[in-house]
Symmetry: C2
Subunit: 191 residues, 2 copies
Amino acid sequence: MADQERALQALLSRYSVGPKHLVEPAPSEAELALMVQAALRAPDHGELAPWRFKIVRGEARHKMAALFADAARAAGKDDAGAALDAERALKPPLSVAVVARLDLGHPQVPAHEQWAAIGGALAMFLAAAHTLGYGGKMLSGAKVRDPAIAAAFCGPGETLLGWIALGTPARKASGPSRKGGLETVLQRWGE
Amino acid sequence: MADQERALQALLSRYSVGPKHLVEPAPSEAELALMVQAALRAPDHGELAPWRFKIVRGEARHKMAALFADAARAAGKDDAGAALDAERALKPPLSVAVVARLDLGHPQVPAHEQWAAIGGALAMFLAAAHTLGYGGKMLSGAKVRDPAIAAAFCGPGETLLGWIALGTPARKASGPSRKGGLETVLQRWGE
């Protein structure tokens, strides 16, 4: 029972930690592998694993920063704005691109169920990061649709969902509670 | 570290348990509330909580069974087929309908991110069930699109994703490993 409570507590205390509050160290390769194994335990109708996680570490962060800066300029931002966007690639010790790889012609599994499977994988990945003492946050925004960025991360038919920023939380916190109550999302049916 | 490993192990050992292998007891109301609190910890861009979980317990299971049987007949199944579908509502000690409630006009959060948030909530809910010793499985299929069933579970603009069958696993198992390897889903970028 005590073990159960600890495991449950890990889920109940997960929260998103943005890039500004992430410091070294980032998860190791072995820890990333565990986090992906947890992701593979998420519900996934048809076991399609319609996602790919792509690690952006070390020098690759600078390559991503250049792409972010170019996209910012293409979107009409000035140099300061481009520098701010580049910083989003450089600030997290590690980023993991989340690429959706949907089978749109699948006879049993509609697209929305495949997106749900991707979200499940993401949630389990971040929950595993949290149990290992790391923090992270999923980031998206308009830049996922920038043609050069999309081409750099996606193959044909793939869609870039965004990037998971990962690292160690600068300070431990339990994270804020979600606004809104259980009574909104948990209801009874048929009574 | 030992606590972390136990919490991680709970994530790495989650598996889906189908209705045939679910027996009493089902989670209590207090346990369901904890499972939904875990669901609220999933990544959710804009904190939209674009989902509702609707508990189908006790007599409501019979009401759902009648809907399932009617839908089977409407789809051209014979009495045996209808009885089989009704059984899907009655076999799990508890079902929880998962209803998507998307904001399709949201300025920042596209529909696919909202589906990912729903999948994240579902994954965290089932992970929490697993830590509490329960088993479950997400079920969908053609019947989620039956007009009478959809109308019974959804309000205007809502979509029925399916039902989570819940109960106690008839026997403990670690669950099969997923086919396919890490090397398929975990890659490096930019090197």
